[in-house]
């Protein structure tokens, strides 16, 4: 009798351990969770500040074509043009706008490096003196038909790898933006708000 009881007890103990293991495995944060950037809301038109980045996203528009003095984009893409200014907060060492991304649904677009003119993408940041310029995103021509286009998100951060650092998030409704036939890129300028 006592043997049966001991067997039952150990079976119950094993079951409890298994359930506890499953619970821990299912609820423990994974790498993707504990390495998340620190998200900071930065609504369109309002200044926002993170650890070493202070930025204002002034405006956004859609353009069918982008042109600067020595380069033109060609046809076949939709361009999202963002006008923003950014500055450093605590340190100018290695302070660049290293991560500028537009997230539409599950797709991530990085600011284009195609234009020859100076954009805000990769611009070095000064403490307290913002640099103002454009961020250009090249998207597929049919992106505005995507239901996720109404809930796009702009991400700005200092490091190209934005994990575990401040990241400014600006929600943008791409379908509500004005559509320009052509956008002429002006160089980003230091000392402009």
């Amino acid at each position: 009798m006592s043997r049966v009881r001991a067997g039952l007890l150990s079976a119950a103990g094993l079951a409890v351990l298994l359930v506890a293991t499953g619970f821990v495995a299912a609820t423990a944060p994974r790498e993707a969770d504990w390495e998340q950037p620190f998200a900071i809301d930065a609504p369109l038109g309002e200044p926002a500040q993170g650890r070493n980045i202070a930025a204002t996203v002034h405006d956004a528009a859609i353009a069918e074509r982008v042109v600067d003095r020595r380069w033109r984009s060609g046809e076949g893409s939709t361009w999202v043009v963002v006008d923003a200014s950014a500055a450093a907060v605590t340190s100018e060492i290695g302070a660049l706008l290293g991560h500028a991304a537009l997230v539409v649904g599950d797709r991530v677009y990085l600011a284009s490096t195609r234009p020859s003119g100076l954009t805000l993408n990769g611009a070095s940041l000064s403490i307290g003196v913002p640099t103002r310029g454009a961020l250009l995103f090249e998207l597929p021509a049919d992106v505005l038909g995507d239901p996720a286009a109404a809930a796009a998100r702009l991400e700005l951060a200092v490091k190209a790898d934005p994990r575990l650092d401040a990241m400014l998030l600006t929600p943008i409704d791409l379908t509500a933006l004005p559509v320009l036939p052509e956008y002429v890129l002006d160089d980003a300028e230091w000392g402009e708000r």
Partner: protein, 234 residues
């Protein structure tokens, strides 16, 4: 006195077999089992690698799609000069460019570089007896801007040129080349690595291209080279 009852008919062979097995050395059993295994494998072609079926041949102009990339190959050309891109071709070699319309089929941007891994592993060349893979890749160039190592945004098409350095002799001998197209697997880093990348290229198709000749890589560069207002000779 009656004879003891005969043991059940089945127990006798069992005991017999037992005695027989006890007398057989274990070594023999192991050797025998290995022999049987080898004979069995011989029925399926032996221990040599099973012959993999040749990858499908796709026609010039057809689009090659993988979860990583959609590629439509254009022409192949021997390029005389890559000075416009500040690229050097090793001596005794010539540069072959394969032009392609590429569209990133993944959800994240992909940098098209000649460095090992990534987009550079998607194509390889066979010219005559020479094979040029990712190691011989000089550069991946976006031909319209032009830009070396362009970033491919998701779903956005880009005109690319994959440029390899190939021994000059093998090009002269061959009037055409074979392009090998590879699919790759999306790998997610764990423990010490983080992020996702494409790796493990597997040959998925081949295509034959004729080799043409070009002075420079880009139409733009040709236009620039011709355009400067040349003073007409007096």
């Amino acid at each position: 006195m009656t004879a003891p009852p005969a043991p059940p008919a089945r127990s006798k062979p069992a005991r017999w077999a037992r005695v027989a097995i006890d007398r057989v050395p274990t070594k023999w059993l192991v050797t025998g089992a290995t022999g049987v295994f080898l004979i069995a494998t011989a029925a399926f072609g032996g221990l040599a690698d099973a012959e993999t079926p040749a990858p499908p041949v796709i026609a010039h102009g057809e689009t090659f799609s993988s979860p990583q990339l959609a590629l439509t190959l254009g022409e192949a050309a021997v390029i005389d000069s890559l000075d416009e891109l500040y690229l050097d071709v090793p001596s005794g070699h010539r540069a072959i460019a394969v032009f392609a319309q590429a569209s990133n089929a993944w959800t994240r941007p992909q940098l098209a570089t000649a460095a090992e891994g990534g987009i550079g592993e998607v194509l390889a060349l066979r010219v005559g007896d020479e094979r040029a893979g990712a190691g011989e890749l000089l550069a991946i160039v976006r031909t319209d801007d032009p830009q070396v190592s362009p970033m491919l945004q998701p779903g956005v098409a880009a005109p690319l040129a994959f440029i390899w350095a190939v021994p000059a002799a093998s090009i002269d001998a061959a009037g055409q080349l074979t392009v090998e197209l590879f699919t790759q697997r999306l790998h997610t880093g764990t423990v010490t690595a983080s992020g996702q990348w494409w790796t493990d290229p597997a040959l998925a198709a081949t295509m034959t291209l004729p080799i043409g000749e070009r002075a420079t890589l880009t139409a733009v560069a040709v236009a620039v080279a011709v355009a400067p207002d040349e003073e007409p000779a007096p």
